[in-house]
């Protein structure tokens, strides 16, 4: 290599980042100036009054003083309707442009605030055409159908597989290899995520977030949040929240964000327009931020929680308040946070009243929050209606260590899992406080559990639930490794009642001495997996049926459930379990992010019958593509359920044809392989025989065959006398 080559390669290095950092900003000095236009024209006498008034307005966003305002006077002795103002910093000047531009002073006068540098840049003669020309409307471009995958003739669901550096989207083919629709290397730089209705696939990059979709998997949107770590969607995919652990350091020329975002860590975006709606600073206390990253408290995610209709989003400032924002403006409801001393956490009801219901006065969005014991006030869980902020139900609680709020998927029930301690604080146990939201006066009932409940899950669209309780921690074993306590899994259902609301919740059964730690309900209820994940001891998945079609135990005959264990399987190293959107299949996977060996996924049907096993090197992530809610009416769904037998016969036939086609292909391939091998062998054997003959040797194997024919097994029995003794028996 010559010296010239070195120079060449040097030139290719991209210095733009360094250049940006170190380039001297020539306009620096003028950046603190703004031009205020749209002022009333006043004579000399009134000028100080106007300046005083103006400064008052201008100080709302930054520091300036009357001396810093220069208002030129015209030849006619009147001011000319504009002024130059100097702020202390360029940041303040930028704020002024953002906040004060368009501000109405009175009915006639509206302020126009621009940076002086902008006026220089754009206002010079010739820079902008004097004549207004109508902008050309952009021609309409047909967009790809964003839900094209739902039109699959076989109604298959899709999923993503992320392995090594490649992310791919595939159709589920049950036992057969999945059908690839797209595969891209380096599609994401940390993980991928589906939007809640399955429209977009989200990828994360150091520069921000990208959304992909449509049949061609093209890029749909970009959200430039530098060093983004986490993303979250609103339930209807209208809004996106991004978070980075590093506050944004704003620099001129960053796309999509403004100086406003400096120091912020959370950004709320409009998904369809790609616009930034609002950004938020970190909520952690300054002491917390100073700690090294591994010492800090885990961040709460998602911090911003949405109502089911995307109309409101809210976040808690632990200890003091809940802030409810209205969309799409993202301004605080009634311009202020709701002060709630001590508040720890809250959850929205996942049910939003329909437009029809909203016409009735009582229907509002519900949120549930809890506050711990404070001074002489007991711990308390409350239900608040939004937007009225009316508290419609509260319940006082005693000796509370912690609460978790669990809404049933339709918002019909709320379970507050209350971890309590005995008066002396020695032992802990759990109370479950149930609220029946849809019933008059929101009645409450309590279930006491002797041990600490570590996991709780409602049946989706149902009124049954599963909980896992852990006993006292056994002492560490000899090796000093803390043992994991055995767990007990309990199943509950309401009592059977003839009519009216569901009966009291009653225990169906408890299965103890387990290691189970996770509950995965089928998306349509009815079936439930109780699993042990991320565990060294056990890798068990138990498939439970809540409406088993068979004999019911006498002791459980009064309950609205017939519980039966229908399958138990093991998946070594399982870290994640996910049902497909239809509830027909479930995938357990072992991701290299959490487990080092035998990564891959395993697909089961709802009964726990293994369909497919795929071991994949450097496997990272499996995720089913969510489906939007069905567009069929209740009547249509009922009709389908009625004719299910008819449909299932049709599907069985289709499956059979598919299977036999697939196996025909396999058989054909095998036949070909066999023929090829046999042909090759007979050629080689013939050649070998010839060569042996030339060498004067008998054909290969001839002598052995002869030997084999004459071979007989000779068994020799050799008796050796070790000792002989004569004894007389009396």
């Amino acid at each position: 290599m010559t010296a010239d080559d070195f120079y060449d390669s040097d030139e290719e290095i991209d210095f733009s980042d360094l250049r940006e950092q170190y380039e001297v900003k020539l306009e620096e000095g003028l950046d603190t100036f703004v031009v205020v236009d749209g002022l009333p024209k006043v004579p000399e006498d009134n000028k100080p009054k106007l300046v005083k008034f103006l400064v008052k307005k201008l100080q709302g966003v930054g520091k300036t003083k009357e001396d810093s305002v220069y208002m030129p006077m015209g030849d006619d002795g009147q001011s000319q309707g504009f002024a130059f103002v100097e702020y202390e910093t360029s940041m303040q000047a930028a704020q002024a442009v953002k906040k004060l531009n368009g501000l109405a002073l009175d009915k006639k006068h509206v302020l126009a605030v621009n940076k002086l540098t902008d006026i220089e840049r754009y206002g010079r003669e010739g820079r902008i055409d004097e004549k207004y020309t109508e902008p050309e409307p952009e021609p309409f471009v047909e967009q790809e159908h964003l839900r094209s995958w739902l039109a699959d003739p076989r109604g298959r669901d899709q999923f993503i597989l992320f392995r090594a550096d490649t992310v791919g989207v595939y159709f589920n083919n049950k036992k057969e290899a999945p059908e690839m629709t797209v595969e891209r290397q380096f599609w994401t730089e940390s993980f991928v995520r589906w939007s809640p209705l399955g429209t977009y696939l989200t990828s994360l990059h150091p520069q921000g977030v990208q959304l992909w979709g449509g049949a061609s998997w093209k890029r749909m949107a970009r959200f430039p949040h530098p060093a983004v770590n986490l993303v979250d969607f609103s339930p209807n995919e209208n809004y996106l929240v991004t978070w980075s652990n590093k506050p944004i350091v704003y620099q001129e020329g960053m796309p999509g964000i403004t100086a406003e975002e400096d120091g912020k860590t959370y950004i709320v975006w409009d998904v369809k327009t790609g616009k930034l709606l609002r950004s938020f600073p970190p909520i952690e206390s300054p002491q917390e931020a100073d700690k090294p990253p591994n010492m800090r408290k885990k961040i709460q995610w998602p911090l911003f929680k949405w109502t089911a209709d995307d109309k409101f989003c809210a976040r808690v400032t632990p200890g003091s308040s809940i802030s409810v924002y209205e969309t799409p403006s993202m301004v605080l409801l009634d311009k202020k946070s709701i002060k709630l001393e001590g508040v720890v956490d809250f959850e929205w009801s996942p049910y939003s009243p329909t437009d029809e219901e909203l016409k009735k006065p009582a229907s509002e969005q519900l949120l549930c929050y809890w506050t711990p014991e404070l001074g002489n006030q007991t711990a308390r869980v409350s239900l608040m209606a939004i937007p009225s902020k009316e508290i419609i139900r509260t319940r006082n609680l005693f000796n509370v260590s912690d609460c978790k709020l669990h809404w049933q998927s339709e918002g019909a029930y709320l379970c507050v899992k209350v971890d309590r301690h005995s008066k002396r604080g020695k032992s802990t146990f759990t109370n479950l406080e149930f609220f029946r939201i849809k019933e008059k006066n929101i009645p409450n009932e309590t279930i006491e559990v002797q041990d600490t409940v570590i996991n709780f899950a409602w049946e989706p669209k149902g009124n049954r639930f599963v909980l896992i309780a852990a006993g006292e921690l056994p002492p560490a074993n000899a090796a000093g490794v803390a043992a994991v306590p055995k767990t007990a899994v309990s199943f509950y259902a309401p009592e059977k009642v003839k009519s009216g609301p569901a009966g009291q919740f009653r225990l169906i059964r408890t299965v103890d001495k387990k290691n189970s730690n996770a509950i995965f309900w089928s998306p349509n209820g009815h079936f439930c997996i109780v699993a042990t994940i991320n565990s060294q001891q056990s890798n068990e998945l138990e498939f439970w049926d809540f409406d088993f079609d068979g004999e019911k135990r006498e002791s459980e005959k009064d309950l609205a459930a017939n519980l039966s264990l229908i399958g138990t399987v093991e998946h070594y190293g399982v870290t994640d379990v996910e049902w497909d959107p239809s509830g027909r299949y479930v995938v357990s996977s072992s991701s290299m992010w959490k487990h080092t060996m035998e990564n891959g996924y395993h697909m089961w049907d709802f009964k726990g019958v293994s369909l497919r096993e795929d071991h994949i090197e450097r496997f990272k992530q499996f995720a089913w593509r969510p489906r939007p809610p069905t567009m069929l009416s209740k009547e249509q769904q009922k009709q389908i359920r009625k004719n299910l037998r008819e449909y299932s016969r049709q599907f069985d036939e289709e499956d059979l044809i598919m299977e036999s086609e697939a196996s025909a292909i396999v058989i054909e391939a095998r036949r070909r392989l066999l023929e090829e091998w046999r042909a090759w062998r007979s050629r080689i054997e013939r050649d070998l025989a010839e060569e042996r003959e030339d060498a004067g040797l008998p054909p290969f194997g001839a002598d052995e065959e002869k030997e084999m024919e004459g071979a007989t097994v000779i068994e020799e029995i050799v008796e050796e006398v070790i000792e002989e003794k004569e004894e007389e028996i009396a």
Binding site: Y572, E598, I667, L674, I684, L688, E691, G701
Partner: protein
Amino acid sequence: MFERALTQVKYNKDGDLLFSVSKDHVICVWFSQNGERLGTYHGHQGAVWTIDSNPTSSILASGAADNTVRLWDIKTGKLIKTWDLPTAVKRVEFSEDGLFLVATTEQRMGHLGSILVYSINPDIEGEQDDEPSLKITCEQSKATVVAWSYLNKYIIAAHENGTISQYDSKTGEQLLNVQVHEKGPLVMDMQMSPDRTYFITASKDKTSKILDVNTLQVLKKFETDTPLNSAAITTKKEFVILGGGQEARDVTTTAARQGKFEARFYHKIFEDEVGRVRGHFGPLNTIAVHPAGVSYASGGEDGYVRLHHFDKSYFDFMYEVERTRAQH
């Protein structure tokens, strides 16, 4: 049972004896029918890496880390010849007719790896030549394993760089050199088919391949999820047996299943996995199949030799296409 890891197991041509060598310094011989030990051969001063018996089961050859190749009288256990070499010997193999022995030596201490061929005097009492009849120096990359083709035509060698060479066994000329396995992970084993017209390799790159000895063309490829140490071709049935496992230092926990210490059976023609046999507590280092295809033996890092006799279902197992073809 050995105190240390097994390095090679091998049946004699009749299949009644099974020889085994390990990292302790002793060679053992067993009855293959019942696993009873028949005897041992003492003399090596280092880990014994390799072993082979001649077609008449009179002479045993062994190679070891003590830089020697030795010949033994199988019947009496008497040492009949020692060749001192500059480096350790990783593989020895008798030719089909038993008149030649090939050995491969390590590259170390300024010595390049080499492939040596010795003429063998089949008379136990007779003199053995002191010098090899042929010496091939591996200039590019040392040979890890070597084997004879049919009729002593070629010597096949697998190299450290993942290539496989075909040498003329008379002149030592390299006729072919093909990149078969990945560079880096070593090719650990190479075993010939009974008629020595094709052979199977086993590589740490987690694959095993069947190649034609004449063209070095890859005929079959078996992909697994674990580094492989050994591969054997079964007779009677169209299978191959592969063995390996995560090395001890890569296994983070103790559960045996995580290390993948299983013998895996693949269909030789269809390349599908058909079954696994568990049992070892460590990686499988070596596998050998009985010449008549009635049993197989495996030697593990755990110090155990496991001897398995095939049952009726093994012989009955057939793919549908094989069955229909067999009926015609």
